[in-house]
Symmetry: C2
Subunit: 220 residues, 2 copies
């Protein structure tokens, strides 16, 4: 490229950019001490958002990383509440363990159920997911109604997720839906407050997958 | 739902949540005065991220909304640098004007070109897009190399975009790539600094589409 003089790194490939980005994040975190097991997740979310608020926002249930990795290696599928999250997850890595990503939001039967019962497609898609005969990780990046419905389904013992990634974003019912999911016994990773999103949900899933892929050689 | 006592709004449908969210954003913006034409874009990005930093980050070239809407109504296609952006754009709204969203990042020939020339797939996908015989809006939410390549292609008169949405996120070459695109004559919407992302790129595209859809009735 001809405009390298403007750039921090010249002729860089994506892997180099990623490596250098994690170095910068570590530098800027300075003396902040992160729990070793959580570090890859926290740093990848900051990498995805350039938003250091996630250092404080992200909440983890006890031993959640260990439990999440076990679920993935046992072939858990990931259920998302947006097609964007599904697009963003590294499906090739997940497939190594027999898992796949599913999103029911665009399904005809889900739209139909939502119409008939006067609820949201997000709620109907969680109901549909609860009938899967598989280990499930839920990744909710958009709809607080999905997270609330999930809380109800867990209470009613209709589903027993391996992990709930609860990171919807927004201004209405979002904060509350996250607090609700943190009350229960289900392993969770939650971005407390208003922030989150499909990008954050995908980043958390990928962070978990890359811990498995890179093992001791991970870049963060 | 049984847990309504926790919620700001009870029994809400997505359209109500969105309307109330925009009201909250307006309330919290208080006396900040936004240029009328830019308001729907700025508010939708804040809605998507719950991050008020975008109030200051977002930069717009002169008359960019008018130009963008004209391009869309004339059937411009939107070229993205991630599948996530493509997933997030309201393709049904875009199709009303004959437009479609294309992302070449996963194309075999793009991967092959990147391998042979030792560049990134993002660069190769911009090269491929420059050969499209259509009006193009570029939406770059991830790769600074895509934005830099776009700048070069414009300089070399190999492409003449109707609009560049330049919102890559990250720590390496990102800030610089955005400054570069703002130097030129191409209409742009850019998130100055490190922040941005696929979610932000999709939100900007949708904000433009919803201005056309809702006209005077828009909710923000």
């Amino acid at each position: 490229m001809k405009y390298e003089k403007y750039l921090e790194l010249e002729n860089v490939l994506p892997a180099d950019i990623e490596r250098r980005s994690f170095e910068i994040i570590s530098e800027e975190l300075g003396n902040v001490s992160l729990e070793k097991s959580l570090e890859p997740v926290i740093k990848r979310v900051i990498h995805t958002t350039a938003d250091f608020d996630y250092l404080d926002n992200l909440c983890f249930s006890p031993d959640v990383i260990e439990k999440a990795l076990e679920a993935i290696t046992q072939g858990a599928c990931i259920v998302t509440d947006t097609q964007m999250i599904k697009s963003g997850i590294n499906k090739k890595e997940l497939a190594k363990y027999g898992g796949e990503v599913v999103c029911f939001m665009s399904d005809e039967d889900v739209a139909e159920t939502a119409r008939i019962t006067g609820t949201t497609r997000a709620v109907a898609s969680m109901d549909k997911a609860s009938k899967l005969d598989k280990k499930i990780i839920f990744a909710v990046g958009n709809a607080p109604t999905a997270l609330i419905r999930l809380y109800e389904l867990i209470k009613e013992e209709k589903v027993k997720p391996e992990l709930v990634i609860g990171v919807p974003v927004g201004f209405v019912n979002v904060v509350q839906s996250k607090e609700l999911i943190m009350k229960g016994d289900t392993p969770y990773i939650v971005s407390r407050g208003r922030k989150g999103g499909s990008n954050v949900a995908a980043a958390i899933c990928n962070a978990l997958l890359y811990i498995l892929r890179d093992g001791e050689n991970q870049i963060n």
